[in-house]
Structures are given as structure tokens and as C-alpha cells.
């Protein structure tokens, strides 16, 4: 009976399932445009790669020949994928000054807390694996 009623356009419009295509349009367009803009301006990727290499070179020596810079589709989201094999990491004396400064921002505190939590849980698991949950 219900499905019969829904065959009437006005009822279908009022009570039928909501069809959403707006989000699909938005996401598909965004994905297509990343590709478009990249093909139209291939120098974009080269320029981006150069800047990233310049940045990483302050911390490590990268294997530039085997580095990968790509825009890929990851679960429907355009993602910048960067893979840089490291030949060696700089010693302390070669790092930029900022990298050695002790940071006391909230972010770093949170990270540390998170780290301790993880470690604790692992210890628990080791000592008593069956009692967990």
C-alpha cells in the first residue's frame, strides 16, 4: 500500500526517500578539477617537488632518484602522495636551530600524553593478555 502511494508523484516528493546528488556532484567535481589543474599546469608538480626537496634537505639526505610525488585517489579523496627514501638523517649539529628548541606548546604535550597512554596499554596487554576486554 505504502509503495503504491509513493507512485503518485506528489506523495513520492513529500514522503519518498531523500535522494542526495549534491554531495556526489561536489566530490566528483573536486576530484576532476585536481586532475584538470594538474594536466593544465604540469609545472605545478615540479615546483611543489622542488620546494619539498628544498625543505627536506635541511633535515636529511633524500634519494631523489627514487622519490615519488603523485596525486592519487584515496577513498574518493584526492591525496598528495609523497614517498622519499632517506639516505641519511642529519646529525644534531646540522639541523636548523628551530628543530632543536624544546617546544612547550599544547600540541606537543598532547602528543606526549598520547604516547604514554599507548605504551601503558601495551604493557598491560603483555602482562595479562586474556583479561583485556
Amino acid at each position: 500500500m505504502n509503495s503504491l502511494l509513493l507512485k503518485v508523484p506528489i506523495f513520492h516528493r513529500l514522503f519518498g526517500p531523500k535522494e542526495d546528488s549534491r554531495n556526489a556532484a561536489r566530490e566528483r567535481l573536486k576530484t576532476a578539477l585536481v586532475g584538470d589543474r594538474q594536466t593544465v599546469a604540469p609545472q605545478l608538480m615540479n615546483c611543489l617537488q622542488k620546494e619539498i626537496e628544498e625543505c627536506t634537505s635541511r633535515y636529511l639526505r633524500a634519494d631523489k632518484e627514487h622519490s615519488v610525488y603523485k596525486i592519487v585517489d584515496k577513498d574518493g579523496k584526492m591525496t598528495l602522495k609523497v614517498e622519499i627514501p632517506i639516505l641519511h638523517i642529519n646529525r644534531q649539529r646540522d639541523l636548523p636551530q628551530e628543530a632543536l628548541k624544546e617546544e612547550k606548546s599544547e600540541e606537543s604535550v598532547e602528543l606526549r600524553l598520547h604516547g604514554t597512554k599507548l605504551r601503558k596499554r601495551r604493557v598491560k596487554k603483555k602482562s595479562n593478555p586474556e583479561s583485556e576486554e
Partner: protein, 275 residues
């Protein structure tokens, strides 16, 4: 003849995709600017597919066209301009119907635009669809651009490409008109919203024009919708014109009539009861 003291502004109206409403936009903005006392010339740069004259009801008065002007077949551009019936300060330069797209070169368009700048406040160029020669001609002499698009994936994608090309041509002022907006569909999640399109294209929004059946009615009669007091699209174009003249003018939301508000209230309530 001119209202302002500075040289005129050359604005190209473009879109990439065809059929999104470039010619209608050009005609309405032109008529709107003229109605406010500015001297305006509209140039149809779509060689081979002449249309602007028809939309404005001036199709029977063409003697010379754009190609005649650049080829020097008439004494000056003034001889080829067709004066509008309604506004003294609005003229159009029709495109050639029986010629090829390459009959005009970008340098010639640039030269013509420079000449026109001394005589008019606004020079609006109605650009052909596509990104080939016709497009290159139309943007050659432009200072600013208005990109017209519809809230549809294909139109938005083409608009993005056009924005890229305009940027490459160093046209720095690029503004967007979102045409054929259907607020009901957006509300039901079946159409890209104004903010969606703006977010994707990332350019300044000049205005939004709602889908309006009266636009067809206006074109049928060869009268711009901006002169039609009952047209919703006409109202939107009046706001767009005000924003071109003074960018500080706030943008109006076309959905502010009592009926649309009432309808919105009714449908939302019904939807809530079911959900």
C-alpha cells in the same frame, strides 16, 4: 556621450560551456548599465553564430558587423554600431554571420577595444563558447572578466578551465555569475549550492540568478528581463549591475518573496513529520 571621466572598462562575459546564459547576461547587464545612465557598447564576438542582436530585438537593423569594422569596410566603428530602441546610450556591434572564426585576430580586437574605451564607459564582450580562436579574440582586449556558469558539474568544470586561461592571460579581475539556480533543488540536496560552486572555483561571486521562465518570454520579445519588473532573474540582474557599478553593494538573495518563504516553511514542516 560618456558619463565617467576615466577611460571605459572592457569586460568579457565568458563561460567555456555553451548555453549557460552568456548572451542573456551580456544583454541584461548592458541594458542595466545603460538604464543607469552609463554609455555602453555590447560586442557579439561569436562569429558565425550571431545572437546578441536577436536577444535585444535589434536583428533587423544590422548593416555592418564586427568583421567589417576590423577589416576597415566602414569609415569607423561608429558606422557599424546599432543604437538600442529603449536606451540612447546603449549600442551593439553585431557579429558577422557568414564568416569564419579566424576572420578576426586578437591584435585587431585589442586595437578596437582601445578605441572604444575612449568613447564608452563600459564595453561588454559576449564571448563564444569554447576555448579556441573566438575565445582568444574576445579576451584579448579585456580588462576584466565575468564568468557565467550553471550549478551543474559540466558547466562548473568548464568554468574552472576558463578561469585558468583568464589567469594565464593576466586578467586579474575575474568574477562569477551563477545562473539558473534552483533553490528548491538545492534545498533537497539535488543541486550544487552557490557556496559549493564558489568553494570549488574559488573566485569572487558577483551574483546569482534564479531559474526564471520569464527569461524565455523576454528573449521571445527581444526585451531584456532586467526591464521586466515581474522577473526574478531581472531582479537578480539589477543587483548584479549595482555591484558592477559599486562593488560595495550587498548581494541580494533571490529567494525572499513571501511565497517562497511560505513554501519553504510548509515543505520543511512536512519533511520533519515524516522523518
Amino acid at each position: 556621450m560618456r558619463k565617467g571621466s576615466n577611460v571605459g572598462k572592457v569586460i568579457v562575459v565568458t563561460s567555456g560551456k555553451g548555453g549557460v546564459g552568456k548572451t542573456t547576461a551580456t544583454a541584461n547587464i548592458g541594458a542595466g548599465l545603460a538604464s543607469q545612465g552609463h554609455s555602453v557598447v555590447l560586442i557579439d564576438t561569436d562569429i558565425g553564430l550571431r545572437n546578441l542582436d536577436l536577444v535585444l530585438g535589434l536583428e533587423n537593423r544590422i548593416v555592418f558587423d564586427l568583421v567589417d569594422v576590423v577589416e576597415g569596410k566602414c569609415r569607423s566603428f561608429r558606422q557599424a554600431l546599432i543604437k538600442d530602441k529603449r536606451f540612447d546610450n546603449l549600442s551593439i556591434l553585431a557579429s558577422a554571420q557568414s564568416r569564419e572564426k579566424d576572420a578576426v585576430k586578437p591584435e585587431q580586437m585589442k586595437k578596437l577595444c582601445t578605441e572604444l574605451k575612449d568613447a564608452f564607459d563600459f564595453i561588454l564582450l559576449d564571448c563564444p563558447a569554447g576555448i579556441e580562436m573566438g575565445f582568444k579574440n574576445a579576451i584579448a582586449g579585456a580588462d576584466e572578466a565575468i564568468v557565467v556558469t550553471n550549478p551543474e558539474v559540466s558547466a562548473v568544470r568548464d568554468a574552472d578551465r576558463i578561469v585558468g586561461l583568464l589567469e594565464a592571460a593576466e586578467i586579474n579581475s575575474i568574477r562569477l555569475i551563477l545562473n539558473r539556480v534552483k533553490p528548491g533543488l538545492i534545498k533537497r540536496g539535488q543541486m550544487l549550492s552557490v557556496s559549493d560552486v564558489q568553494d570549488i572555483l574559488n573566485i569572487e561571486l558577483l551574483g546569482q540568478v534564479p531559474e526564471d521562465e520569464r527569461i524565455v518570454h523576454s528573449s521571445n520579445k527581444g526585451e531584456p528581463a532586467i526591464l521586466d519588473a515581474r522577473s526574478k532573474a531581472g531582479m537578480a540582474y539589477r543587483n548584479i549591475v549595482a555591484r558592477i557599478v559599486d562593488p560595495a553593494t550587498p548581494m541580494v538573495d533571490p529567494q525572499t518573496s513571501i511565497w517562497s518563504k511560505l513554501r519553504r516553511v510548509l515543505t520543511t514542516d512536512l519533511g520533519a513529520q515524516v522523518g
